[in-house]
Subunit: 144 residues, 2 copies
DNA sequence: TTACCACCTTAGGACTACTAGAAGGCAAGC
DNA sequence: GCTTGCCTTCTAGTAGTCCTAAGGTGGTAA
């Protein structure tokens, strides 16, 4: 199966700008062109792109993704480094999900509060946000 | 309690650059200065900042956050708009958590695969990513 | 045949939200 | 008096994405 850039954008739920950016920066090395110089995407290109989108949306910078894709093409000797990269990305993503779930609690409190104000005519509190004790971070070190 | 910018950065797990950025852009309207022109943060400022960090990290643009904070200061008449904003943010965040959990599955497959290659000496597959059917999006509309 | 639409292309600039560096002020300690 | 270390402001740079301009191609329809 072949796809146009538009079809791929729709399938992956990203913009055509981003796809061209990834292609122009060497992250989609197997994409072909047709007689009119238009990009032609095959299923393997979609698999590459799927991984790129996955890594990008879990916070890996483009430069690291480029490095990872080079490692894949270098072959089996690079498996240890790729393993470490994926483990790091795994724990990053778990942390991010955890952070988002904590943030969701804060947002839920806001939603519930405003519903109370609107439906039960409770007074609006000016306090913008209550900080749960557990959300304090004391491990953060700047400039390291 | 009063805090320096450094202490606040540590507490909130963000950089001092970001805090200054938020302050300079009017998002921390109550922050005082000491005799040496240094920023002095009180507990209410931490509450504001906590909400800013929460909204920012769940994807709300700075401009929208500024607007929200203006609404809070305008008083109770703006509760309906604030309610809509928080509900939108709630569903955005739920979607993002869901996306991350799907991406995590892809990463988990990679980690498991590399572990297999390293420990059980299975061959490395060149296939970068298998695209689950369920992850295809056909609702995406570009330029809207 | 000409007009028009819808898609593609490249090049280049604008934008957001930081991020970093330079240069300097002030207070405490030796 | 000097160093250290924190703070300040100002300016410039960055990543990644978005957008526009200007143009090419193919299909259809009056």
């Amino acid at each position: 199966m072949s796809y146009t850039i538009q079809e791929v954008a729709k399938k992956m739920a990203i913009s055509t700008y981003s796809i061209r950016y990834y292609h122009d920066h060497g992250m989609l090395p197997f994409v072909k062109r047709d007689a009119n110089n238009n990009r032609v995407f095959e299923d393997t290109d979609l698999e590459w792109l799927h991984l790129i989108v996955c890594l990008r949306q879990t916070g890996m910078p483009v430069e690291r993704i480029q490095h990872y894709l080079e490692l894949v093409q270098e072959g089996e000797s690079t498996v240890p480094e790729r393993y470490e990269m994926m483990k790091a990305q795994q724990s990053r993503t778990l942390d991010e999900i955890n952070d988002l779930q904590n943030h969701l609690k804060t947002i839920n409190i806001k939603v519930d509060h405003y519903a109370d104000v609107l439906i039960h005519h409770k007074p609006d509190s000016f306090v913008p946000s209550n900080i749960p004790e557990a959300e304090e971070h004391d491990v953060y070190q700047e400039n390291q």
